[in-house]
Structures are given as C-alpha cells and as structure tokens.
C-alpha cells in the first residue's frame, strides 16, 4: 500500500511543480510579450508561430496561458493561505475557550452554510468591482469555514487529553498552552486540509472568472479564456480546450497529492 501512495504523491507533485515552474518563469517559454494584440491575426489555428493559435483579439493563446497561470494560481494559493490562517485561528480559539466565543462562531457558520456552494462568494464578487483582491476576498469569505470547523473539532477532543489537563494543572498559561501544546498537534491536519482545499478553491476561482467576475486586467485568467473560447467553439475549439486542460491538470495533480496525504493520515491513526 505504501508504495502506491508514494506514486500518487510523486506524480501529483511533479505535474504541479512543472506547472508552477512554467508560470513563474513564463517569459522563458514564449517570445511574445504578455497581452500583445494583433487584430489582423484573430483566431488563428495552432502553428509553429502560435503553438496554440490565437484568440479573439489576436493574442497568442500559449502566452496567455503562461501568464494567466500566474494570476489563477496565485489567487488560489493566497486565498488558501488567508482562509486557512483565519479559519484555524478562529477554530483554535473557539475550541479552547468554548463559551460565547464558540457560540457566536458556530451560529455564524450555520448562517453562512445556509447559502449553497459558492453562491455567497459569487454574490460578493458581483457586488464588488472585480479585481485580484476582490476575488481573493470573495472566496475567502466562505473558504475559512472548513479549517475553522476542523480545527475546533480537533481541539475539543485534544483539550480533554491527559497532557493538556496536566499542563493546565501545572499552571501553564493559556497562551503558551494554545501555542506550545495544542497548535503543534493540529498542524499536520491543517496542512492536509490546506492541500485538499486548494483544488476546490482553484475550481471556484476559475468558475467565478468564467462567469465574468475575474480581474479585468490585460492578461486573461484561465477561466476568462475558457469563457471566451465557449463563444467561438465552432470556429476555434482550441481556445476552450487549452485553458480547460490547464485547470484540469492543476486540480487533478492537487487531488492526487491530497488523496495520498489523506490515506496516509488515515493509516497513521
């Protein structure tokens, strides 16, 4: 069993690292500057000049994919980071202090969970001027709930453990108990949760972009490219296929890693 897990982990990590590497060093893999338009060269099929053809404005699709990866991936990673930090801290506090802190948090979560799926993020994104940070904010609004509930549940069971009770009896201050004893114990779970949530967040980010709520910059995100491709699907199918494949590969590789990590964690417990 162990080796099978490692295969998934390695394959996932290799695909993801390649994509990240391509995005970070984008200028190395194309000789077109990002977002250069040439109206005379609209919707060209793939050729040696334009590996994946050109889009409606005559921008090289391969170049757009490379630079768009920076936006799509960084929005997702920043969102995961923010929502994990906020969610875990809230969960930590609620699980440890219980009482009204926990009550308020849990009731608030109940209300937010009454809105199905990503609809709250969608609404918030609609009601703001679409920028990079409005998208991060809109997705973070609901993305913190997962880590918050997970960490709270974990702390609730940990605080009854002997070592915590003993530390408490020895007069260890709540702050050091929280950060020296409880926090390190939940760290591995937080990491696993982070990895598994990345794929969902990338899907939400590209979904919102697809619906026209992505940042309106010179460089389109993957979701925006795909949305454009949908409108010219008969003339130029590559414009829909290529960005979708990119999103799929990222989500797939993250899911492979997440599955391996989760099975590993399950095996340990």
């Amino acid at each position: 069993m162990k080796t099978k897990h490692d295969v998934r982990l390695i394959v996932g990590a290799v695909i993801l690292l390649i994509i990240i590497g391509v995005a970070v060093f984008a200028p190395l893999w194309t000789h077109y500057p990002a977002g250069r338009m040439d109206i005379r060269q609209r919707l060209l099929p793939p050729s040696s000049e334009h590996w994946l053809g050109t889009d409606l404005k005559g921008i090289d699709i391969w170049t757009s994919l490379l630079y768009g990866a920076r936006i799509s991936l960084s929005i997702s990673f920043v969102t995961v980071l923010i929502s994990t930090v906020i969610g875990s801290s809230l969960g930590l506090l609620a699980g440890y202090y219980r009482g009204w802190v926990e009550q308020i948090l849990m009731r608030w979560i109940d209300i937010l969970l009454a809105f199905p799926g990503m609809i709250l993020s969608l609404t918030l994104a609609t009601f703001m001027v679409p920028t990079y940070f409005s998208l991060v904010l809109a997705i973070s609004l609901t993305a913190w709930i997962g880590p918050a509930r997970l960490v709270r549940g974990e702390i609730l069971s940990l605080r009854e453990r002997e070592y915590v009770v003993a530390a408490h009896a020895l007069g260890v201050s709540p702050v050091s108990l929280l950060f020296k004893h409880l926090f390190p114990s939940v760290l591995p779970i937080i990491f696993t949760q982070m990895t598994t949530s990345i794929s969902g967040i990338i899907l939400i980010e590209s979904g919102l972009s697809f619906l026209g709520l992505g940042p309106k910059g010179k460089i389109p995100t993957w979701g925006q490219l795909l949305s454009e491709g949908r409108t010219v699907i008969t003339e130029s199918p590559i414009l829909a296929i290529a960005p979708g494949l990119a999103i799929f590969l990222v989500v797939f590789s993250v899911n492979l890693i997440g599955d391996a990590l989760r099975d590993d964690a399950r095996g340990m417990s």
């Binding site: 009454a114 799926g117 979904g207 619906l211 008969t234 979708g244 799929f248 989500v251």
Partner: protein, 308 residues
C-alpha cells in the same frame, strides 16, 4: 417523532430569517454609493435619487431589512432594474427548466454512482476497482465549464447527434445533465464505495452470512440499508454543489433557467435579481436539508427510536 420534527422546524426558521437579512443588506457590499455603480457615470442627481427611492436606499438600514423581510413574506422580491418586472415573476418563469435539469442530474447521479460504488467495493483491489477510482478522480478534477464545451464539441459539432445549446426537444437536456452530474457522480461513487467497505466487514454481515442469507440478500437487505444513511447525507450536501453547478452549466448550454437568470443579472449588475436568485437558491437548499433530515428518519429506525 413530533419533538424531532419540531426541533428541525425551529432550527429552520431563524436560519431562513438570517438568510433574508443577509440577502437584504447585500447591496451595501458595493463599495461607495451603490447607486453610483448602478446608474453609471453620466447619470444626473435626479435619476440617482429615483433609483435610490426605487430600491428603498433612502430609508434607514433597519427599515430596509424590515421592508425586504415583509416583501419576502408576501412573495415580493423587488423589481428588476433592467427588465422592470417583479423578480418573483422572473424566477417563476425560469424555475421549471432548472428543476428539470437538477432532478435529471440527481437521478442520473444516483443511478450511476450507487451501483458503481457498490461494485467497486465488492471487487475491492481489483482492476475494476482501480479503474472506477481512477475515473472518479478524473471526474472530481474536471470543471463542468470545461466538460460542457468538450461534450458540445464531440456530440453536437463533431457527431451532430445533439443540439449545441438551448432547451428544445428531449435531446437538449442530455448534455447539460451529463456536464452537471459528472462531478456529483465522481464524489458519490467514492462515498458509496467507502461506506460499503466499512459495512461489509461488520459483525452483523457475518451473522447474516452464517445464517445462510445469500450474497444478494446480505447486500441489499443489510449493507445497502446501512450505507444508505451516509449516501443520503452526501446527496443532501451535494445539493450545494449542484446549485453552483447549475449556474455554470446553464450558462455553458444557454439553458433558460434560474442559473442563466442570475448569470445575466450579474453581467448587467441587476442587483435585485441577483438578490432574489440568491434567496431562492438558499431557500431551496435549506428545504432540501430539511427533507434530508426527514429521509434519515424514514431510513434509520435508530433515529426514529431516539427521537421519541
């Protein structure tokens, strides 16, 4: 039984009320003056005041919330800024196609994933199991706004079997249903498999076998019934993903439902319609959760007994 139902209903009421309050203040998420945003840069002060009055933004926030809540109670969700028609009427017109799509997707999901998940569990560790799990991982990773266009390319443009978009004739629902249910199927196959695997090794299964119950009996009468609880929970939870999936799938296939209504409203910044759709989706979601809880009651005698 009665206390259980009462508890569920008592939970439902404050939550729905919170949803209404949150929806009613949503327009204030717009940074600055929302009216500037709606009216555009060239609107006169008079036009702006008119819009302000129309949306009730000239009144204090508490009054706005109260008005919206009273409106909801009376089935009034305001009027569209662009189409100048009541939002409830717009949603009413689009509700049927969305329900059609949602139900066919749920139906397909159950019909495909429960047998596949069960088969995968029974053949645990074989090539078949591996293929099932591999395919489901692909399904989970496949965004439906990509699968949709791919299906259109293959079945509508290349093979010419099915219409590209719209809702005309029975054939038109096939591709949207496939696109919408793919990720749901993928998730449910995994859940069914895990849930079956857990129950297949329980003591009661061994007892049933030693009593001479045949494999099919063990499977359908014992394991399936126990696994059904987990499966129902997940189907209920999946409804959230179904709603957002509907919005995107309807946009991909120009399906004339509530999903395209909200997508169009987003494009036109028609806020009352966005608010109305969000409310409608959330209410439907809460109702489904309520129904899921009632289904537990029916499936699981333990819940029935404990509730007494």
């Amino acid at each position: 039984m009665r206390t259980y139902l009462l508890k569920r209903l008592l939970y439902f009421i404050p939550i729905s009320f919170s949803v209404v309050v949150l929806v009613s203040v949503m327009i204030h998420f717009i940074p600055g003056d929302p009216v500037d945003h709606i009216a555009g840069d060239f609107a006169s002060e008079k036009d702006k005041n008119l819009i302000r009055q129309k949306l009730g933004l000239d009144q204090p926030l508490s009054k706005q919330i109260l008005n919206y809540t009273l409106g909801v109670v009376h089935g009034d969700l305001g009027r569209s800024l662009v189409l100048h028609r009541p939002v409830t009427e717009l949603i009413g017109e689009r509700a049927l196609p969305t329900l059609e799509l949602a139900f066919s997707a749920i139906l397909l999901t159950c019909l495909v994933s429960i047998p596949l998940g069960a088969l995968s569990a029974l053949k645990n560790g074989t090539l078949l199991d591996f293929l099932c799990m591999g395919t489901s991982l692909v399904g989970i990773s496949m965004p439906n706004f990509w699968l949709g266009p791919l299906l259109i390319l293959l079945f509508s443009i290349h093979l010419g079997w099915l219409p590209v978009a719209g809702r005309s004739g029975p054939g038109s629902i096939v591709l949207p249903t496939l696109a919408l249910s793919s990720s749901l199927v993928a998730v449910l196959v995994r859940v069914t498999r895990t849930s079956f695997l857990e129950h297949l090794h329980e003591d009661y299964v061994r007892t049933a076998r030693s009593k001479g119950v045949n494999e099919w009996g063990v499977f359908f009468k014992h394991v399936l019934k126990n696994a059904a609880i987990t499966i129902t929970t997940v189907i209920g939870l999946q409804f959230g993903a179904l709603v957002t999936g509907t919005i995107i799938t309807e946009k991909v296939f120009d399906w004339p439902g509530v999903g395209t209504l909200i997508a169009e409203a987003i494009d036109r910044r028609d806020y009352p319609v966005v608010q109305g759709c969000v409310f409608a989706f959330s209410l439907a979601f809460l109702l489904t959760n309520l129904i899921t809880d009632l289904v537990y009651f029916w499936i699981d005698p333990r819940i029935r007994v404990n509730a007494k």
